[in-house]
Every structure is written in C-alpha cells, then in structure tokens.
C-alpha cells in the first residue's frame, strides 16, 4: 500500500495534495498499489469522493480532540497508525507535509527524500528518486533503500490528473496519542492581514515583480500602479526585502512565496535560481530589464529591453489610454 498524507480545507483537497496522489499512482505502477490517503483533523464533505476520482481506494480519517489543533508530532502519530506496513508514505511538499514526513522518518528511522519530482528506478527494494535541491536549480538522484520509503512531492512538479475512478471507502480511526506528542501543538491562531496579503500574492492571476532595478524604496510606485491596473499583486526579490525597501511577505522565491499566476511581470529582477524557484510555475512571464542577457530575460516568454522606470509608466499610460 502507498499512503498519502492529504491536506484539505473547505474548498476541498489542496492542489499539491492532488499532485501527490497523482504521483502516488505513478509510483504504484512501479512498486504496486493500492493508493490510500490519510486525513488528520477536519474532513470536508466532498473530499472522499474527490479522492476517489483520483484513484484513491481508501481514505483513513483520524478523529479525536488530539488532532483538532495542528502539531507535527501528533499528526505524524495518526499517519503512522494509518500506514500499517505501507511500502511508501508520501506527503505534499508543503510546510506541514514536510514536517509530518520528517517526524515519520525520524520515528521509523528511515531516510526521507524532500521535494521529489520523479522516480528513476525501483529495483531490488531500493527506490531511486529525483528531487529538487538548491530551490530547484539542481536535481539530485537519491536512493531510499529502506521500507517504508518516506518522501515529499515537490509542489507543481507533476500535474494533478484524475485516475481510474473508484468508490473510495472511508475508514475513521482514533489512534492512541502519547502525552509527549501533545506538547508542541498550536495553542492559538490569529488570522492577520499580512498573511492575507501573502495569500493574495500566491493566488493572484497577475503578479508584477520588482527587484534591485527599482533603485530605492521610492521606486515601487509605477509597478504598484501596474499591478493595480491589472487587478494583480506586487511581488519582490530578496534583495528588495533585505534592503528593507519592501516587507518580507511580498518576497517571491525559495525563501518567500511560490506563485503560479497566468502572467508574471518581473521588472529589474535578474532571475537568480532562488528567485526562479518561486516563479517557475507562472504560465507566461514578461520580463522587463536593461540587460537582455539576464537569466530572467532569456528564460521569459516575452521580454522588453529597457529601464523599468521608463517602460512601466508607458505601459500604465497605454492601459489608461485604451480604457479611455
């Protein structure tokens, strides 16, 4: 059995979880199935059927007060209880997915591969996988010789595809929890505006980016205006947050937000691999830069060569002119 730790909210199963389930089906072709899912905490209504559509044969749902609030250790207890003698345990490459997987690997004393993008081979008990390191700029082939193989699947590395639909069974269970696993648990939660803004960045259809080319903390007026004209969000490079020009929640990249808009418009951003790690899943990239050889300019779909402080105001004026 291959077990997938699945994250769900009222909107249904998270995209990266569906990608992970899709990945699990590919893995099942190599090492055998079936694919099961485990959900800890709240189980939104439609999720069991949704997972069935992705080929999940059984959904294990951990219930009980111990799982109401998130805690890496206690949630890992639930996943471990559902795993039985699973051949592989997969989690989405999200913060919680990583955390739960690492707890499992530590308890089972097996290796864990983070941010896996593919399977190379599964010969003689050793699973060889490919994973992203250096924020995706480099790939590593890594061996997982022990069972269960524990791994997380990199976000947006595989496309979520529905499978041979099955009627997934729902199996509720209430595993026993050690007192020590309840120590590190969320004790309170406050929704804050800053997170809403970071959320706006990751869900925006259009993101306008600005890097060192903005020049100073006063250099963001035009790009902000463009973002506003397009109903999008502003994102920035690490140089910009390090210099204190803009707040960290606007940062895109390996150590910032990962965006996947329809259009990303990076202005004065060179396209370092750590930045690329956060914007690689944009559908279309339109780069604006004085240096036509900057990595962002050669990797982009479209480019304009020029000073962002000349080009962006001209675009804003043209948009306003056409809107009349």
């Amino acid at each position: 059995m291959i077990l997938v730790f699945v994250e769900a909210s009222d909107d249904g199963t998270s995209e990266v979880s569906l990608e992970t389930v899709t990945f699990a089906r590919t893995l099942a072709e190599r090492i055998g199935g079936p694919v099961h899912a485990v959900i800890v905490g709240a189980l939104p209504e439609k999720v069991v059927d949704e997972l069935g559509g992705y080929g999940v044969a059984a959904v294990h749902h951990a219930t009980g007060a111990a799982f109401d609030a998130f805690g890496g250790a206690v949630w890992a207890t639930a996943v471990q209880a559902a795993a039985g003698d699973a051949d592989a345990i997969l989690a989405p490459g999200t913060p919680r997915g990583m955390e739960v997987a690492a707890h499992l690997a530590a308890r089972l004393d097996v290796p864990m591969a983070a941010n896996v993008t593919g399977v190379v081979s599964a010969d003689g008990g050793t699973l060889r996988v490919v994973r992203q390191v250096l924020g995706g700029g480099v790939l590593e082939e890594m061996d997982l010789p022990q069972r269960p193989a524990v791994l997380t699947v990199a976000g947006h590395a595989v496309e979520a595809r529905q499978g041979e639909p099955v009627a997934a069974t729902l199996q509720e269970f209430s595993p026993e929890v050690a007192e020590s696993d309840l120590v590190a648990r969320v004790v309170s939660m406050e929704p804050v505006q800053e997170l809403d803004q970071a959320g706006a960045l990751t869900s925006a259809r259009v993101v306008v980016g600005a890097g060192r080319g903005a020049g100073s903390s006063n250099g963001f007026g035009e790009v902000s205006e463009l973002a506003e004209l397009l109903g999008g969000a502003l994102g920035v490079s690490r140089v910009v947050t390090s210099l204190g020009w803009r707040p960290h929640h606007e940062q895109i990249g390996q150590t910032g937000s990962r965006i996947s808009p329809d259009v990303y418009i990076p202005c004065g951003i060179s396209g370092a691999i750590q930045h690329w790690a956060g914007c690689a899943s944009s559908k279309t990239i339109l780069a604006i830069n004085t240096d036509e050889n900057a990595p962002m300019m050669t990797k982009a779909t479209y480019a304009v060569i020029g000073d962002m402080h000349d080009v962006v105001p001209a675009i804003n004026a043209e948009i306003r002119r056409r809107r009349g």
Binding site: F70, G72, A73, P95, M98, E99, A101, A102, H103, A105, R107, A114, N115, Q132, L134, G135, G136, V138, L139, E140, E141, M142, D143, L144, T152, S180, A184, V186, V187, S188, M189, E190, P191, L195, R205, L230, R238, G244, T255, G256, D262, V263, A272, I273, Q274, L286, P295, M297, T298, K299, T301, Y302, A303, V304, I305, D307, D310, A314, E318, R322
Partner: protein
C-alpha cells in the same frame, strides 16, 4: 538565563548559473563565496535577542570542514558568544540523520535549553535535521517559526500557518526550526568583528561513521533553449505589451 545552541551550515552562495563538479557529486564552488541560509541567519539573530533580554549564552555550531570557521566567525561577529566545529573531512557524507546524531551528542554534553536550526539547508534542502534532532533528544519541536521568545522557562514560537499566525508554547528544553522573515539579521559591528577574530573555536571530532545521504549524483535540469520573444525596447514597446496583455485576457 537561556543557553541557546544555533546550528548553521556552510553552503556555496549560488546566484545565477550553477555548474557541477565532473563527478556530479557536488556544486562546483570555484569562484563562489560561501554563506549560511537566510533562515539560519534569522535563527542566530533570534538567539542573540533572547539572550540580550534574558541573559545566557549563544553557541553556534557547524558540522563541516575547517573552512567553516569563516561562517562561525561571522556568527560570533553578530553576537554569538562561543562556537563549536564538528570537523569532518567530507561533510557531504553526512546525511540529515547523521548530522542530527552528531548535533545530539554535542547537546547532550552541554546544557543547552534551546536549540535553533534553519527550517531547511540552503544546498541540500532536506527539511528534517531539526525534527530528527528533537526525536533523538526526546524534546518537543516547533517547525518553521518566524519568531521565538523565552520567558520564565517557556519558549513562545510564532509560525505563519495556512490560516493565520499560530502560536506554540514550549516548556524548555526544546528545539525550534526557523524560517526567514520574522526578524532582520543585524550586521556585525566593528568591535564584534574584532572579538570574533580573536575568539577561540572549539573543535570536536564526529562520534560515529556516517550512514550517508543516499545521494547518487547531481544533475542540472535540462537547459531550456531560450524561446523568448522580444516585444521591443524602451517605452516604445508599451503598445505591444498592452496588446499582449489583452491577448492573454488579463486586461479585464
């Protein structure tokens, strides 16, 4: 009084194009500087602030070659009070479980109330050393904290969760892994640099043979030939840009 151990990792400071060594075992670091990850810089900063409030000590630790003394001294320059090098000739042979075991040995020999690490290392990105360490020590662990404060034997850590800011309260001793963004790491002062230059660095040997990282080889993602379409130069390109935005359906 809080005695804090901060674990950091020396890694090549890669920016644009990365090349690999001929054997495919590592990133070619010739011509590159070295650094620690931004998460780890924030962990050092948080430790220094905790001790400034409450008293105690900040020890910074690396498992690495003796070149890693450079990163230890940088941390001493911004307020760490002592440094430990677990000296390994081939640190890449140490997988995350090995590193956790070696750090655990140092923690058990000392009297550290709080161990801070980065959420994930800049180069290998394994996302697990802190959790494995906590497991070995039998201590609670919070992952991905933006801030950590200590009052009266309790560490309060704040994490940016999926729905908002989550607060954890941990009785010490504990382990916390840190994500960039909650604090601004300070720059070293001149006196800090002077002190760091002279500070003594304690060197210890690894306790056990590493089990390894499972690395077979590194590869570069297939180079995508550039297919960029240049829309124009300077402000004259604006109409072409707006045509494109209309075609892409994002003009509303």
């Amino acid at each position: 009084m809080t005695d804090v151990l901060v674990c950091v990792k020396r890694a090549p400071d890669t920016g644009g194009d990365v090349t690999l060594t001929a054997d495919g075992q590592s990133v070619d670091a010739r011509g590159l500087g070295f650094t620690i990850s931004a998460h780890e810089s924030c962990a050092v900063e948080l430790a220094v602030r905790i001790v400034a409030e409450d008293g105690g000590s900040v020890t910074v630790l690396i498992l690495g070659t003796d070149d890693a003394v450079e990163q230890l001294r940088s941390a001493l320059g911004v307020g760490a009070t002592s440094a430990v090098l677990i000296e390994a000739d081939d640190p890449a042979a140490f997988g995350p479980a090995d590193v956790a075991r070696e750090i655990a040995a140092v923690v058990e020999d000392g009297s550290y109330d709080l161990v801070l690490l980065g959420n994930d290392a800049a180069d290998t990105g394994d996302f697990q050393v802190g959790i494995r360490l906590a497991h070995l020590l039998g201590r609670p662990v919070v992952n991905g904290a933006r801030t950590v404060e200590v009052t009266g034997g309790t560490a309060t850590a704040k994490v940016a969760g999926p729905d908002g800011v989550e607060t954890y309260a941990l009785p010490l001793p504990a382990v916390v892994t840190v994500l960039e963004g909650g604090v601004e790491p300070r720059y070293p002062s001149i006196t800090g640099r002077m002190k760091a230059k002279k500070a003594k660095i304690e060197t210890v040997a690894p306790r056990a043979e590493p089990r390894g990282s499972g690395r077979v080889r590194l590869t570069l993602p297939p180079a995508q030939p550039s297919t960029v379409e240049v829309l124009g130069e300077g402000p004259d390109a604006a109409p072409a840009v707006v045509d494109l935005l209309q075609r892409l359906g994002v003009m509303r």
